[in-house]
Symmetry: C2
C-alpha cells in the first residue's frame, strides 16, 4: 500500500474527463490534480528510540526485523481516513512510529510486549493499515517512544478442519492471502469488506469488521471460533466450542479491542466450501423506504441472500452513472443488489424464497447485470476517493446502525447534519447512502459525502464529522457499525457504553496491560 | 415450584407400573417411593440478619417485600440439580437465605445493592430457581449473611417494537409469562429450554441459556439486543444497535455473568411473529454417526430447521419405549426430530431443502408423529427424574459442546467416564445422549445418566461428575454448553478460559462489585 493514498500504484488513475466536467459544474472545482510529494522527501519526526532500545528490540525479534528506515516508518505512519490522506498531503513533518517491528510469531509478540512494558514504550499493533478511524496512529500516549508492530509475518494457515468448517489463520494474513490459502482446500472465509484487498485477519477481529456478504456469512465476529491473544499479562486462548455457557464470552471482549487490550495473533474462523453457484439479482424499488421494508421482510423471514444491499436514490443515480448508463435505460428509484451463494439447490431454494418476498414488497427484478457490475467494482471506491481528493474534492464515508423502525429518522438526521454543517461552511455536499448490512432487528447505513474542499479541508471535515457524530448519538444510532472506534470515534464512546462501561474497559485493560503500553489514545476514553 | 422437586404438584405422578418393573429388572430397585418430608417440618439454619438489617432492607423495598418466613426461605434454598434434590431429602437443617427480597423495579435493585455493599451482606439474584449447577445457592462467601433477590416483580413488557421485532422484557418474567405477553401482539420469543415453564428472562440471559429451537431462533444470547444491569457500581445500559463495532461487546460480558457481576433487570430481545405454520418431521438414521453427519450437512448448508435434534441409539430406544411404542413398530437406529416454523412459504421452501439434504445423508422420513410426541412431552423430563429419585434411582443430565470433528470422540469419552465411574462404584449406569443444539462448526451433546442409588447418592454422583468433568476438559469440550457454571462447574473454569481469563473476570468484578457481595462462590474461581 502506498504511503499517501489507497492501494497499489497500478490501480491509481486520474478521473475520467466526463467526471471532471461534472465536478466542475456541480462543485466549481477546476478538475486539475495536485502533484503529490515524493515519498523520499517527506520529513518525519525524529525517532525517539535510543540505541539501547533498538538493540534490546533486535534481541527479541532479530536485527533485520527492527526497521527505522524512512520508508518503513512512512508506510506505518497511520491509516487511510480522508483526514489521514489530507494530512499526508500537507507540508511539514509527518508523524511516524519510532521503529517498526516485524515479529515472527506469537512468542515474539509476547516478548516484545514484555520488553516494551519494562522499558515503557508504546506499542501500536498493525495489520493492513487500512483503519479509517485513526486506529493505527503512532501515538505515544504517556510514553517517550512508540513502536509499530507489523504482524505480516504471522501468515500461516494452521489447524484446518474441513469437517467442522474451521481454519486457524495467522493475524497478519491479508484477505486475499487468506482466501488463497483456503481456496487450495476448496474453502472460503467469505469476508469481503471494502478493505478486503489489504486489511488483515487480525485487524478484522480487532475492529469487528463486517463484510459485504454479511447477510449470508455473518459479521467477522460471528465467524470467530477461537482467538489467540498476546498481552503484557500473558497469553489468552479463548473459545473452546461453537457455543458455551461457561461464563461471559471473553472472545467478545477482545474482538473489537482494537489493539488496546492485546495483540491478536491467530484467529480460528468458520469457513465454508467455495460456493458452487452464485446467483446474482438486482432489484429496483420505488423509493428507499419501500426498499428498506423489502430487505427487512426477507431478513426477518429467515430468507436472507448472501449479499443484500440497497442504495438510496442519490447513490442509485450516481452508481448507474458510473456504470456508464447515463443516457441509457434510466432506472428511477432505488437499486438493491442480491447474491445467493452455495450449492445449486440452496441458491435455487433461497433465491425463490427471497425473490417472492422482494417482489411482494414492491421490488422489480432487474436481472443479473447490475449485481455483477457491483461485485466487479466493489473494492474500487477508495481509489476514486484519492482521485477526488487530488482535484480538490472532499470525499469521505461514515456508517452507523440502528433498528428498522429508527432507520429512516437516523438517515434523515445524518444527512441533515452533514448537509447543514458543510453547507454552513459554504460547501453544500452531495450525500449518498446505502444499507450495507442487514439483521432481523435492524440495519446499517453507509454514507458517502462529497463536497468542494476548503483551504483547510481537515478542519472542514472535522467540523462536519463532529456534527454528524453528535447527530448519530442523538438519533440513537451506534457511533460505528463496522469502521471501529480508533481515535476518531473515541469522543462518543462514553455515550455509547456509559461511564460504568468505560470503567469496565479500563479495568480489563489494567488487568492485561498494567503499564498501558498498548495502542494509547484509541478506543477507551 | 415446590421446594424439594421440580415443578408444580399437579404434574407430579408416581412411575407407571411397567417402568417400576423395568427398573427392578435392570437396576434391582424395589420401585417403592420414599415418603418426602413435610415442608413445614424442615429445619432451616437460623437467619443471620439483625433486626437493624431487616429494617434497613424494608426501607429499600418495603416491609412486605422482605420475607424471612420459613416458606419463603425454603423456596429459595437453591436450584434443581439432582444433588440439590437429594440434599432436600436429607434430614438435618437445610441451607437457606437469611431473607428473601422482592424488589419492585430496577431502582430498588440498585438500592438493595448499595445497602448490601455498605452493610456487607451477600446477594444472590434469583429468577426461576431452576439452576442445575448450584447457581442460586444461598452462599455467604466472606460475609455473615446472604439475601436472595427474587426478581419476579420485574414482570413487564415495555418498548415493544413490532417493526424491528424487538421487545423489552422484565427480568422476572417466566418463559410462559413472556410468551403470553408477546402473543397478545402476535409475537413470540421462541426460547424453549427444558426449564421454560419456570425459568426467567433474566436467568436466561445470566446463564447463556439455549432453547430447543436454537437452530432456528438462536441461543438466548443471540436474541439479546440490549441489557439493563444493576451493579453496586451503578447501572449499565448496553447495546445501541443490532450490531456495532464500538469496541468490545459488553453485552457478552454480562450475558453469562450468572449474577456475579450485576443483576440483569430488563432484556430487549429479538422476537418474531407467532409462526403461521409449523412443519413437523421425524427422521431415522442408521446410527448416531450417520445422523450427526446429516445434521451437519443441513446446518452447514444454511438450511437448518427451527428444531433439529438427534438421539443416540440408547435414547432412541428409551424415548420410543416411553412414547408407548414397545411392541409396536420398532425403529432401529437413531431418531432425529425437526420442526420448521414460519410462513407457509418458508416452511415449504426450507422443509424441501432440509429434507433433500437429510435424505441424501441417509435419513428416512418417519412422518410427523414422533416429532409431535417429542414436542408434547418436551418439558416433562424433570418430573420423571423426581419420580426416579423417589424410587432409589440416580438420574441426572449434563451437557457439553465441541466441533463436529471431535463430537464422536467427546461422546465416547463422556460415556466412558460416566460408565467407568459409576460401574466402579458398583452401579453400572444407563447413559443416553442426544445432539441438542447445532451450529455450522459443531454441536452440543446432552447426556442423561441413570443408575441405582448408593446409600450416599450425593457422594456417588459427586465422584461421577468430577470424572466426567475432567473427561470433558481432556477431550476438548466446553464444561457447559447451556447449563452455566454456578458452583458445580467452577473447578473447570480456569481450564476453560485460562489463568489470565480468570484475572480478567476478577478485574471486571472488582470494577462493578468492589465489595464482592454478588453471588459469592459462583462462576469465578
Amino acid at each position: 500500500m502506498v504511503w499517501d493514498a489507497w492501494g497499489i500504484p497500478s490501480e491509481h488513475a486520474p478521473l475520467p474527463e466526463k467526471i471532471r466536467t461534472l465536478l466542475a459544474q456541480v462543485f466549481g472545482v477546476s478538475g486539475e490534480s495536485v502533484t503529490r510529494r515524493d515519498e523520499g522527501s517527506v520529513p518525519l519526526r525524529t525517532s525517539a528510540l535510543s540505541q539501547a532500545h533498538l538493540a534490546g528490540l533486535s534481541t527479541v525479534v532479530g536485527p533485520d526485523q527492527v526497521r527505522t528506515d524512512h520508508r518503513a516508518r512512512l508506510l506505518h505512519a497511520g491509516g487511510k481516513s480522508t483526514p489521514d490522506l489530507l494530512r499526508r498531503r500537507l507540508d511539514g513533518p509527518q508523524d511516524a512510529p519510532d521503529a517498526v517491528l516485524f515479529p515472527a510469531d506469537h512468542d515474539q509478540v509476547l516478548a516484545v510486549l514484555e520488553y516494551c512494558t519494562e522499558q515503557r514504550i508504546a506499542v501500536v499493533p498493525f495489520g493492513g493499515g487500512t483503519s479509517v478511524v485513526g486506529g493505527v496512529d503512532p501515538a505515544r500516549g504517556a510514553f517517550d517512544a512508540v513502536v509499530t508492530l507489523d504482524l505480516r509475518r504471522l501468515d500461516s494457515l494452521t489447524d484446518l478442519d474441513p469437517v467442522s468448517g474451521t481454519a486457524t489463520l495467522g493475524a497478519g494474513l491479508t484477505g486475499p492471502q487468506a482466501e488463497k490459502l483456503l481456496a487450495a482446500h476448496g474453502l472460503s472465509l467469505g469476508h469481503f469488506p471494502q478493505s478486503f484487498e489489504f486489511a488483515s485477519i487480525g485487524g478484522f477481529a480487532a475492529t469487528r469488521s463486517s463484510g459485504q456478504a454479511s447477510a449470508g456469512f455473518g459479521r467477522f465476529d460471528d465467524m470467530i471460533q477461537r482467538l489467540r491473544v498476546a498481552t503484557p499479562g500473558g497469553t489468552l486462548d479463548l473459545g473452546r466450542a461453537p457455543a458455551s455457557a461457561a461464563g461471559p464470552d471473553l472472545r467478545e471482549l477482545f474482538s473489537g479491542s482494537e489493539g488496546t487490550l492485546g495483540v491478536i495473533t491467530a484467529v480460528t474462523l468458520r469457513v465454508h466450501p467455495v460456493p458452487a453457484t452464485v446467483g446474482y439479482q438486482a432489484w429496483s424499488f420505488p423509493d428507499f423506504g419501500a426498499g428498506a421494508a423489502a430487505l427487512r421482510s426477507v431478513v426477518q423471514a429467515g430468507a436472507a441472500p448472501t449479499v443484500l444491499r440497497l442504495s438510496d436514490e442519490a447513490e442509485t443515480g450516481l452508481n448507474l452513472a458510473r456504470a456508464g448508463d447515463i443516457g441509457g435505460n434510466p432506472v428511477t428509484g432505488c437499486l438493491a443488489i442480491t447474491t445467493i451463494e452455495g450449492s445449486a439447490a440452496h441458491v435455487e431454494a433461497r433465491g425463490a424464497e427471497a425473490a417472492a418476498l422482494l417482489t411482494a414488497a414492491g421490488g422489480t427484478a432487474l436481472g443479473e447485470q447490475a449485481a455483477r457490475d457491483w461485485e466487479h467494482g466493489r473494492f474500487a471506491a477508495p481509489y476514486l476517493r484519492d482521485a477526488l481528493l487530488d482535484v480538490g474534492i472532499l470525499c469521505e464515508t461514515l456508517e452507523t446502525a440502528t433498528s428498522w423502525s429508527n432507520l429512516a429518522e437516523l438517515k434523515a438526521k445524518v444527512t441533515a447534519a452533514l448537509t447543514d454543517s458543510l453547507a454552513g461552511q459554504g460547501t453544500p455536499p452531495l450525500v449518498m447512502c446505502h444499507i450495507s448490512h442487514t439483521y432481523p432487528t435492524g440495519a446499517s447505513l453507509y454514507f458517502t459525502v462529497v463536497a468542494k474542499q476548503l483551504d483547510d479541508p481537515i478542519a472542514q471535515w472535522h467540523t462536519a464529522k463532529h456534527a454528524v457524530g453528535d447527530a448519530i448519538a442523538a438519533a440513537g444510532g451506534t457511533i460505528t457499525h463496522h469502521h471501529a472506534v480508533g481515535a476518531d470515534h473515541r469522543p462518543w464512546m462514553t455515550g455509547e457504553i456509559g461511564e460504568l462501561g468505560v470503567r469496565v474497559l479500563r479495568a480489563v485493560k489494567q488487568a492485561v496491560d498494567p503499564a498501558g503500553i498498548l495502542n494509547p489514545g484509541k478506543l477507551i476514553p
